[in-house]
Amino acid sequence: MKPVERRLMRELPVLRRHMTYSTVLALLTAGLVVAQAVLLAAVLADGFAGGGVLIAPLAVLVALAAVMALRALLVWARGLLAQRAAADAKRTLRDRVTERLGRTGPLRPAARRHGETVTLLTRGLDALDPYVVGYLPTMTATAVVPLTVVGWLLWADWTSALVVIVTLPLIPVFGALVGMHTAQRTARQWGLLARLGGHFLDVVAGLPTLRAFGRERHQTRVVGEMADAHRRATMRTLRVAFLSSFVLETVATLSVALVAVPVGLRLLRGELDLRTALTVLFLAPEAYLPLRAAGAAFHDSAEGIAVAERVFAMLDDEDGPHALEGVRATERAAVHALASHARTTHLRLDEVTVHHPGRTAPALRHASLAVAPGEHVALAGPSGAGKSTLLALFLGFVTPASGRVEVGGTDLARLDPDAWRTQVAWVPQRPHLFAASVADNIRLGRPDASDAEVRRAARAASADLFIEELPAAYDTVLGEHGAGLSAGQRQRVALARAFLKDAPVLLLDEPTAHLDPESEAAVTRATVELMRGRTAVVVAHRTSLLPHADRIVTVRAGSLDLDPSRPTALAVSHPAPLAAFRPAPLSAPQPAPTEGLLT
């Protein structure tokens, strides 16, 4: 057993149970196989000897039919239990991956991996079926059936048993020898095979490009040539790989001949009775059958094992600093006291340094910032300077490597993150739309909100007009397979979420770009409306929000550029002078005034 198989057994009780059931069923089947051989041999030997009275053979035949019917029942039960074990095992693994995804830091990992995860959870795990349904029961049968058959043969006719005992181990031994010899050659071929096999997908994916440059006809020939090269390489591998199945089959069938011929010769000399001889003939192939089946099932199981490895790799993947949830719940102070005072709560960063995994430079370096209750702070500065990281700190998505994040004087690390987040409304740069209705998307933070409340929130976010134009208005299903919304519309749905949640603290990441002038004006209007009466930290990528901030903090290469001459908290009524905004040299290029474009 490979380590990953041992781990599957260890972590999935359903598979251990499956092994137990399989063993019991294999034992029962082995008993029935012996019974069937004995009964059939008896009825045939009797018929051969005398014929005559047909009552006795009839009884034996009925018994034989009963034994075979029982075997059929066991086959059905074995399939049923195996399929169920596979279904349960896949469900357990799916749920564990889902749970792991939940514990991973919510900051999005590379987009590439989402597709992988989804494929793994839906189609990918099905590769476990051949392993659980085919391979595992066959393995238990391999242990149980030959022993039972050989045991019976020893009792009935030990010379034939001896032949089986000597030849049976040859199968795994030869198999291993051939396997060892071929493994290296196969491994060498594997890279080539994978490359040639991937060529078709590569060309098909690139077909729009090939057409754009008029090269699509040329590639028709190449597709054929590469497929042919793939065939030749595959056949080189298979010629060797199939040697093991050749050895297996030959040893198994030759052994039957090795048993049958001496039995025949002994009968000829009258040293054996026909009934025993026939029993031996019927039973001998059964001893080899599980090993042959295991050989076939082994090939099909490889993919299942590979999938299990990928699942475990995903489960073991630690994301380090994101795992705030790793803090033990007992250490967390209750946040409830805070909840009622969140409107009057100070937010503070105290000498915070943040490292993102895989990056050498810290995302934030000794950053300090105090936000007074009701204050509106705008964060400006070039992309990648750490503005979004700052919001993530206040959300508890990121834990500082050093320094403290304080909420009303309490270290955020000691608060229950979920309880704290009930006090925060977050509007990200690219909000995710869930595969649910528009209304349910807005209800994200308050699932029990009434339709009227949802509409009110949408109106406040300037989202009501376009929502009502959607095919099913508020019931239109969004998400990957649902209606597509433009960036500005998505942003307004997210603002509606925040309006509905009505939390005292607002953390907002302005969309980087790509809004048409109309959307931009609507989004700005709604954002300003949302900030009113709340403590707000907003990342401003463009200038339109800046006049509405009390204070502008420029973030540059992980450091905060606080104007020391300005007090931490400003009266809400004082708009920040635009002059305070000094774009950094690396900032996103100056936006052109949109009005100038209109002719």
């Binding site: 051969f48 195996a82 999005r108 994916a205 054929g224 992309s383 998400g479 433009s486």
Partner: protein
């Protein structure tokens, strides 16, 4: 925010008309290769059956204690069959795989040819990597249809027929009974499997696609869920979908192994029935004692040969789904077909493009994606096309490159109406960097030469220099021969963008289109790449589609597209 023209394939005219048979028709031309494999497979199974039957005869005959000479032929036969079985099996495996891989290689070419006129707007596959991967897997399903369905079925039939024939020769009524029960088992077991998959298939498919959507939500929406305290609920929904799939699979389990059990039950019936008939015939003196055992063994081996059928039927059910998708592909109508007598189009020199009153619809019954678009791309000037996602920018490019048809208005290039020209000629005149531009798993050189196969090294260097990629290429250990990963996975986003730009510059078409060349780049890199693009394209007829406004100072003309209509045009004085 990608909005590739979302043209849905035209509804297949003969949907559901036996897709598996149609798939088979594509593979049948290879029968010369496949027949030996089927024969070897049948031969191997027949050898196994004959081995048991001969051994049974040998033993029973020996029990009559005749002289050794009368069984010596049987002894030799048993040994030969035992050896032959393994050899035939090996031949079956090799011939089968070789023939099938040949057939699949040919089929791939057919699928590729069918895909050519559909790329990129004629099938949804080009909009999703997952669909594309599945399409390629579907093509390989052809392999399973031959190797795991047809060849095993042929072998099983051969053994069943041979056993029935032999039994009939020995005792006609036993042969009839055996043949009858074999036929029932051989037809009933696969039919059971297929009927079952037809019943549970749709429910399982729906549950799976629900799970996929919910999984996307908990992975891509993880932060939103956490911030709004909705993670628990979302995970609960995923667990719910997961449980529904498991429940459906558990229910399916009740019936999946039923087919194998049915084969065994029929085997029991046949064994008891044939043995009973044989015993009676023997008692009546019409059947030799030796043949008593041979008949019983024939029943056993014939039904053993049917054992792979339920598994083959399960594969067939899966292949059927693949075959249906492939049939849809072959039936899909290309969105644009060439006119019978295309008008030639000049392919050199800077050309102008005159677009007037252009209307494009993605679906005949849908709203227009472009409506009344009038725009002039002047020779030698760089036009920047701005607009929000979904405003129709990429649709305009697709119409210019003749990937999608236009139902009203005109596009004239060098005085010729695009509708009257061959698509390939149009793309010689108007091409560049499309939004779905692909980096092939090949060398940098091959990736660039694609745009102009006869380009010299100096041309490559010049294009790379202008795309500001030359320093990077020359810093690589293998330089121009560096193999790029699958879709440029080994390069950074900025390098990928620059490579695609270099390729477009190397193509040097009379009208250069660049569709969102900075998509997916971080703002700083995007700004650098855009600036380079505008510098590199000075003096060429260029249409640059972007939603990034940082490049406007460099542009000659600026056009804004909004909801399928031209919103504003600004001509910048040169």
């Amino acid at each position: 925010m990608t909005t590739t023209p979302s043209l849905v394939a035209a509804p297949a005219p003969q949907r559901g008309s036996r897709p598996t048979l149609r798939l088979l028709r594509h593979l049948l031309p290879y029968w010369r290769r496949l027949l030996p494999a089927a024969l070897a497979s049948a031969g191997s199974d027949l050898a196994a059956a004959a081995l048991m039957a001969t051994a049974a005869w040998l033993i029973t005959r020996a029990a009559e204690q005749p002289p050794l000479a009368s069984v010596s032929v049987a002894i030799v036969a048993v040994r030969a069959l035992a050896l032959g079985r393994g050899a035939l099996r090996y031949a079956d495996r090799l011939l089968g795989h070789d023939g099938v891989l040949r057939a699949v290689a040919g089929f791939r070419t057919r699928v590729y040819e069918a895909l050519v006129p559909l790329a990129p707007a004629g099938t949804p596959a080009f909009r999703s990597g997952d669909l594309l991967t599945r399409l390629v897997d579907d093509v390989d399903a052809a392999q399973d249809l031959l190797l795991r369905v047809l060849i095993p079925a042929a072998a099983a039939t051969a053994v069943a027929v041979a056993a029935t024939g032999a039994a009939t020769a020995l005792l006609p009524q036993a042969g009839v009974l055996l043949g009858l029960l074999l036929a029932v088992a051989g037809l009933l077991a696969p039919a059971l499997v297929l009927a079952l998959s037809r019943r549970t298939g749709p429910a399982e498919k729906a549950a799976r696609s629900e799970l996929a959507a919910l999984t996307v939500d908990v992975t891509q929406g993880a932060a939103d869920l956490a911030a709004y305290g909705a993670r628990g609920r979302a995970e609960e929904r995923v667990r719910g979908a997961s449980a529904r799939i498991a429940a459906l699979e558990r229910r399916g389990a009740l019936t999946t192994s039923l087919a194998s059990a049915v084969v065994l039950l029929l085997q029991a019936g046949a064994l008891v029935g044939v043995t009973w008939l044989a015993l009676r015939a023997h008692a009546a003196g019409t059947l030799a004692a030796v043949h008593l055992t041979v008949l019983a063994v024939l029943v056993l081996v014939a039904f053993d040969a049917l054992a792979p059928l339920p598994g083959a039927a399960r594969r067939l059910a899966e292949v059927r789904a693949s075959a249906r998708r492939l049939a849809d592909l072959f039936d899909a109508r290309p969105p644009v077909t060439d006119p019978p007598a295309p008008v030639p189009l000049p392919a050199t020199g800077p050309l102008g493009v005159d677009i007037t009153g252009l209307r494009v619809r993605h679906r005949p019954d849908g709203p227009p994606a472009l409506d009344g678009v009038t725009l002039r791309l002047q020779p030698g000037r760089r036009t920047v096309l701005l607009g929000a996602s979904g405003s129709g920018k990429s649709t305009l490019i697709a119409a210019l490159m003749r990937y999608v048809p236009y139902e009203a208005g005109s596009i004239r290039v060098g005085g010729r109406e695009l509708r009257d020209c061959a698509g390939a000629d149009v793309r010689r005149a108007i091409t560049g960097m499309t939004q779905d531009a692909h980096v092939f798993h090949a060398t940098i050189r091959a990736n660039l030469l694609l745009a102009r196969p006869d380009a010299r090294d100096a041309d490559l260097r010049e294009a790379a220099r202008r795309a500001r990629l030359l320093d990077w290429i020359e810093s690589l250990p293998d330089r121009w021969d560096t193999v790029l990963g699958e879709d440029g996975a080994t390069m950074s986003g900025g390098q990928r963008g620059r490579l695609l730009l270099a390729r477009a510059l190397l193509a040097d078409p009379p009208v250069l289109v660049l569709d969102e060349p900075t998509e997916g780049l971080d703002p700083d890199t995007a700004a650098a790449v855009l600036t380079d693009i505008l510098t590199a394209t000075r003096g060429r007829t260029t249409l640059l589609v972007t939603h990034d406004r940082s490049c406007l100072t460099e542009a000659d003309d600026i056009v804004t597209l909004d909801d399928g209509r031209i919103r504003s045009v600004r001509e910048v004085d040169a």
